[in-house]
């Protein structure tokens, strides 16, 4: 990674939709390149607004945002935007093209890429997201999960260094949600992306490196996801619920049974069996 090693540097960022509607106040934070950050908080805490500021879709009222070393200003926004991709909540409302193929190509056309390269990228990223067989389909013929894959492919095809997921999995069914989470995990694993996800989903938060908690437009906590789920008061204030495994370990602890944290799936049963056998 070049530059400062920081994807975002925010200095005392404030934003309001009007004098009576302050949304964000005095937000200062750094986000490392290649990291995966979850933005969490109750509805109306300003997390979606922060995502739009980061993506250059809104401009700050005061304070500054530096993206990979370049200050985000009115003059630089067109130059910075290509480095940031955004995936939104509603799979239908971000499907711009009339077919999968055209939707992936939409952003590339704006980049004025030569046709040969567009065709190559459309194919490469469609294959990567396993939608290669759907290229000619109309959005009405796709499921929500498939449409969200198209959205991710369309973003990744533009080869941004930063990808922001704004509640991207919240309208999907359980299976599609799990699949999207795996895509995020792979993206993280590739090391090519700085990822910011706004989410209520416990598993998604758990998979990220860092959780930033917003409340009333300010940063209320900035911690490891595991610590977030260990803090019941903080969870309540974000209206979150810990993953089942975490809750189980906590309840077991209340019953006097101590299991080291970090078990998942079958390991819990196995660990309990060990405890039982050793008695």
């Amino acid at each position: 990674m070049e530059g400062t090693g920081l994807a975002f540097e925010l200095q005392q960022v404030s934003f309001a939709y009007g004098p009576e509607q302050p949304v964000l106040g005095d937000v200062t934070l750094d986000i490392l390149q290649g990291s995966w950050v979850s933005l969490v908080g109750p509805n109306g805490c300003g997390k979606s607004t922060l995502a739009k500021l980061l993506g250059g879709l809104l401009a700050v009222n005061s304070g500054s945002i530096i993206v990979e070393g370049t200050p985000l200003l009115r003059e630089t926004v067109q130059q910075i935007r290509p480095r940031i991709g955004m995936v939104f909540q509603n799979p239908d409302n971000q499907f711009i093209g009339a077919t999968v193929e055209e939707d992936i190509a939409f952003g590339l056309e704006g980049r004025c890429l030569p046709r040969a390269e567009m065709v190559e990228r459309v194919k490469r990223y469609a294959d990567k997201l396993e939608i290669g067989h759907l290229l000619a389909k109309h959005p009405a013929e796709l499921s929500g999960g498939q449409k969200q894959r198209v959205a991710v492919a369309a973003i990744l095809a533009m080869e941004p260094g930063i990808v922001i997921f704004d509640e991207a999995s919240s309208m999907l069914d359980e299976k599609a949600r799990g699949e999207l989470l795996n895509i995020l995990r792979e993206m993280k694993h590739s090391g090519k992306y700085t990822m910011i996800s706004i989410t209520h989903d416990a598993e998604e938060i758990m998979a990220s490196d860092r959780a930033i908690v917003l409340r009333d437009g300010r940063i209320a906590a900035d911690l490891k996801p595991r610590d977030l789920f260990g803090d019941e008061e903080l969870l309540d204030s974000c209206r979150l619920i810990a993953p089942y495994e975490v809750r189980l370990v906590r309840e077991l602890c209340r019953q006097g049974i101590r299991l080291p944290a970090g078990y998942c799936g079958e390991e819990v049963a196995e660990a309990l069996w060990q405890l039982y056998s050793n008695k």
Binding site: G145, M171, V268
Partner: protein
């Protein structure tokens, strides 16, 4: 029986070139006062099934009996007004159906349509609002200025205001935050327990409904592949996950793993972390008891 389906089939665009079948010979019975949930992957026919409960869709094959109404394929349908009042149907993202400039007017829309007087409708509105846990201070407010969770509750109340005997909801918790989802599930359970309503929920997040539901139905490709109690669902979750694309939640897999290890398969499953922790603690207190197959340590 509140609801009886006899080999109900349904196809969209029945007589056209683009006919496509959404339900295939579904038979089911749901008793009065149950809390039932319908699960299954996207496109399995869950929503189509739900829309048969109050005659929004009419079967293209077979017979639907709801309360004392019968809808039979090929026969002239009876007037549906009374059925629609007695079976409230809440669609996905019901907040999108709100249109009045005050919560009260929106809540009165249903009751007035069903011929109630203005005074009675207002009374119903206030009662329905209380049922979803909102007080009368919401009545004069503009529904479009409420938060997403509150709008959802108002929209559900707008159906409850008709005082239906049966209430059927399509993915009522979708896109809400986790605690609002849990609260909504609890609220529906209260409607069933305290008001004696029959509640039927379509869901793809099984975990949040598990503590309350007494009958589970699983759909696949327009057909019913499972109906039974939570305990039966837990026992059959393996093949339902493998073959029907059911997203089985962690609380079920964890229980199944522990049950297999400790030989508890015949017990009532413990599906909340509290219950399971308590059960495990009892096991560890007295090693050797209630272990049938593997002896003790």
């Amino acid at each position: 029986m509140a609801i009886v389906f006899e080999q109900v089939s349904f196809a969209y665009d029945e007589r056209s070139l683009w006919r496509h079948s959404a339900l295939e010979e579904v038979s089911l019975e749901l008793g009065t006062g149950v809390f039932a949930a319908v699960a299954g992957s996207t496109g399995s026919g869950k929503s189509t099934l739900l829309q048969h409960f109050n005659g929004i869709l009419k079967p293209t094959g077979g017979k639907v009996r709801v309360l004392d109404f019968t809808l039979q394929a090929g026969e002239k349908q009876p007037p549906l007004r009374e059925l629609r009042r007695r079976v409230g149907l809440v669609f996905q993202f019901p907040e999108q159906q709100l249109f009045e400039d005050t919560v009260e007017k929106d809540l009165c829309f249903g009751p007035l349509n069903f011929g109630m007087g203005a005074e009675e409708a207002r009374e119903r509105a206030s009662k329905a609002l209380a049922l979803v846990g909102l007080d009368d201070s919401f009545l004069p407010r503009n529904p479009f200025h409420l938060s997403g969770g509150q709008m959802r509750k108002v929209a559900i109340a707008s159906v409850l205001a008709m005082d239906p005997d049966v209430i059927a909801l399509d993915e009522p918790t979708a896109t809400l935050d986790p605690q609002s989802r849990a609260e909504l599930a609890e609220l529906l359970s209260r409607l069933q327990r305290e008001q004696g309503k029959t509640v039927i929920v379509v869901t793809h997040r099984m975990e949040e409904m598990l503590p309350y539901v007494d009958t589970w139905i699983v759909m696949k490709g327009g057909a019913k592949v499972f109906q039974g109690s939570p305990a039966e669902l837990v026992r059959e979750s393996g093949w339902l996950e493998r073959e029907c694309g059911l997203a089985v939640p962690a609380c079920i897999t964890t229980w199944n793993n522990i049950a297999a290890r400790f030989g508890l398969e015949d017990e009532e499953p413990c599906l909340t972390s509290e219950k399971l922790a308590w059960r495990v603690a009892r096991l560890l207190e007295r090693p050797g008891q209630s272990i049938m197959r593997e002896g003790g340590g």
